[in-house]
Each structure stands twice: as structure tokens, then as C-alpha cells.
Symmetry: C2
Subunit: 231 residues, 2 copies
């Protein structure tokens, strides 16, 4: 196997990120327009080669890419899967380690200036963005969407996409929008209380339709809370 223990026989290795947040258009993903070959001019998931002289580990590589593209440092990050084959990149046998990142809508708004020039939020439509993407990124995005949609059913995931402070009505509305169905208000509030991932922002109320509503935030923005059954 010594011939394979050689740089010329190593596959290409990249980290690629499916970065989600809520924009006025709904659930959205961050795309970048490629400026060089292959697929120059095409939209793609943000990603890059692992920098072995700089990145301590895969997650550090993913966080570096995230920061380069969005200016944001420490959101929720989760490894989705790794794809690798001889066909996906014209430059050669290529591995993509795919991460999912969830950004609060506040981070998106505040860091608009720090965002890479060629980056853009695109609303999700069905299983993609209604655009052809570079490499196999349309398939990777579809997988990422499947993962986050399945997690909406039994986790605090939607809370990671909202602005940092939100009311229970706003949270319910995001759950409903991601699930594509209405939820019963009192059952929803009971489940949120049981799941215990929210804390009230002391003394902060927001005027809702008829009476002031308590404002909440996540207890921990870095990890999802999993429910013991579907919402």
C-alpha cells in the first residue's frame, strides 16, 4: 500500500457548510457565487479546503469558513455527513465533510457588512433554492434540509434561527412554518415548558395583538435540546 501513502494519491478534502437562518423570505440558506474554476460563476454552499497548517480539526476548519463568509463566530454547528467519490469534482477524487450551521436572524442582520461580497441568502423552496448549484451541492443541500426538517419535529432547532429575543407566539409561528402545519397553542406552550430550553428575559415584555407578551431567549445557543417525543 506504499503507493497510496503518498501525497499524489490523496483525495481532495473540503468542508462545506449548509448555513441556515430566518430572513424576511422565511427559512434561507447562505450561498456564495464561485469566482474561479471549476463551476466559476455558479452558486455553491460556502466551503473550502482544509488548511492543515492552520486548522486544528475539522470543526475548526468549518468555523473558519463560516467566519470568512458570514463574520459570525460561534453558532450551532453539526456534522451532517461526508460524501466522497471520483466524479464530484473535476479536479479529482474529492471528499466533502458537510456541516449544518444555524444562525440567529440577528446575527444575519448585524453581520451583513462582514459577509463575503459574493455571498447571498436564498430562500428555501421545497427541497432546494430553485437554482442549479456547483458540484453536488444541490444534493448536499437537500440532505441538510431533510436533517433540519426532521429535527424540527423533536427539538429546539427553530429557536436557533429566530432573533435572539422572541415571544412564544413568534416561536410557535416558526415551528408551524417549518413543519408546514398548525399547532395547538396550549399544547405547544406545555411542550416548550417541559423541554426547558427557554428562559424569560427579565422585565422584557412585547405588545402582542391584545396584551403584553413575555420575551424569551435560549438558555444555550450552542446545543439543541431534544424532546422525548414529536411535537
Amino acid at each position: 500500500m506504499t503507493t497510496h501513502d503518498n501525497d499524489a494519491f490523496k483525495p481532495i478534502a473540503t468542508v462545506d457548510l449548509a448555513i441556515f437562518s430566518l430572513t424576511p423570505a422565511g427559512l434561507s440558506v447562505l450561498l456564495v457565487r464561485r469566482t474561479s474554476a471549476p463551476f466559476a460563476g455558479d452558486w455553491a454552499l460556502p466551503g473550502g479546503w482544509i488548511h492543515i497548517d492552520e486548522d486544528a480539526d475539522l470543526e475548526a476548519a468549518a468555523r473558519r469558513v463560516l467566519k470568512e463568509k458570514t463574520g459570525v463566530e460561534t453558532p450551532y454547528l453539526e456534522q451532517l455527513q461526508t460524501t466522497g467519490n471520483r466524479d464530484r469534482d473535476p479536479r479529482g477524487w474529492s471528499i466533502s465533510i458537510v456541516y449544518i450551521a444555524l444562525l440567529s436572524a440577528d446575527d444575519v442582520a448585524e453581520r451583513q457588512d462582514a459577509m463575503a461580497e459574493e455571498a447571498e441568502w436564498r430562500p428555501i423552496e421545497g427541497e432546494g433554492v430553485g437554482l442549479s448549484l456547483a458540484f453536488d451541492h444541490a444534493a448536499l443541500l437537500k440532505e441538510a434540509l431533510g436533517r433540519i426538517r426532521s429535527k424540527v419535529e423533536y427539538s429546539s432547532l427553530p429557536g436557533h434561527l429566530l432573533p435572539v429575543r422572541f415571544t412564544l407566539s413568534e416561536l410557535q409561528s416558526v415551528y408551524e412554518s417549518l413543519l408546514g402545519r398548525k399547532l395547538d397553542k396550549s399544547a405547544f406552550r406545555k411542550r416548550m415548558a417541559e423541554a426547558d430550553f427557554l428562559e424569560p428575559v427579565e422585565g422584557e415584555m412585547r405588545r402582542a395583538s391584545n396584551r403584553p407578551a413575555q420575551v424569551f431567549r435560549l438558555k444555550d445557543t450552542r446545543s439543541l435540546v431534544l424532546f422525548d417525543r414529536r411535537i
Copy 2:
């Protein structure tokens, strides 16, 4: 970024396999003794470099390694996770894409001759095998065990470890052994019937303690059936 677009800057990439089956000692994992540096003489999960001239994709690389070590071709294979950092391999920045394989006890017994000379089944004790392993393979094995144990709760996984033909009593006994608790016989049989992943082997009965028991096999050996709730 051109300096990183160079073989000398690529990480090492391997596939490593946590291959499980049932042996007379219970749930067991296949280990190989390393014959060369680094970690020569230590036990490790079977694995190897991706052969970019030979492997079409990651799964093909995993199946090739599986066949080299066990002689078996097409069992259940599932990607667990990818680990990569600058410290895990003294030869340099290294990525391991880890797969879980489940082998039927029949395959293990029949292919004993095809198994690589330095390979050996080791019974699981707690979260490992009671041996120090090469690289970070003890941590990878612990992750793999966590994954399969969590799947026992809500899937057909134990059926993939048994001999190809088994009775419901034998299946229940493997569930109980992997879960570490007893199950109610009639509730267990009801759940197995609902999950619909078994088929009776026509006309094949086995003498149990008092009366003949129907023999079953999996409808599909290549994929797990997930239950809609915990067993």
C-alpha cells in the same frame, strides 16, 4: 488559497470500520493487529487509505476494506461520522471516515478462513474491548457502540447480528442482551409483527423448550427498519 490546492497540503484520508457481530461471547467487534508503524503491534479498527485509483466512492472503499479483512461482501453498512485533526496520526493531519458494519453470525463462522490473519473478534465489555487501541480508535469504537445501542431501542438492528435464520425467542434474547433488560414476550412479539421486517422460513420449525418454534429471517438484510417508538 493556491498553496492549499496542492498534494503536499492535503490531509491523510482513511476509512475505518467498526464491524460488529454476535459471537459465543456476545456482541463483538473485529480488530486487527497492526503490522507496521505507527502503532505497530497494537490492535485497531480495520481500515485503510482511500485508493483513488480503485475506489469509486467512500462506501466502495469501506466495502473493499471489509472484504480484505473478513471475506464478506455485502452486509449492512452505515456511515457513523468523520473525525479529523492534526494530532490523531503521527504521520500528519488525518481524516477518518468511520463506518459501522453489521455481520450475521453465520457470515462470521463461514468466513473464518477468509479473515485476514491478523484479525480477531473481541467481545465488547462496557464501552470498549478492555484493550488500548491504536490512534483514537478507542474513542471511535465508543461512538460506534453508542450509535448501535441507541438503535437497538427502535430498530431491527439485532436481527442483523444473528445467524441468518432464527426464532423469535432467539431474537428477543439478543434484544434483551443488547438493551441490558428483560422484555415482555407478548409485547415483544406484537412489536415485531407491527414492524414487519421478518418473514417465516416456509416449513422450518425448531424444537424449543416445549413445542416447535417457527424459524424467521430478515426480509431485507441491507437496511434497518426503524420503529415508530422505542421497544
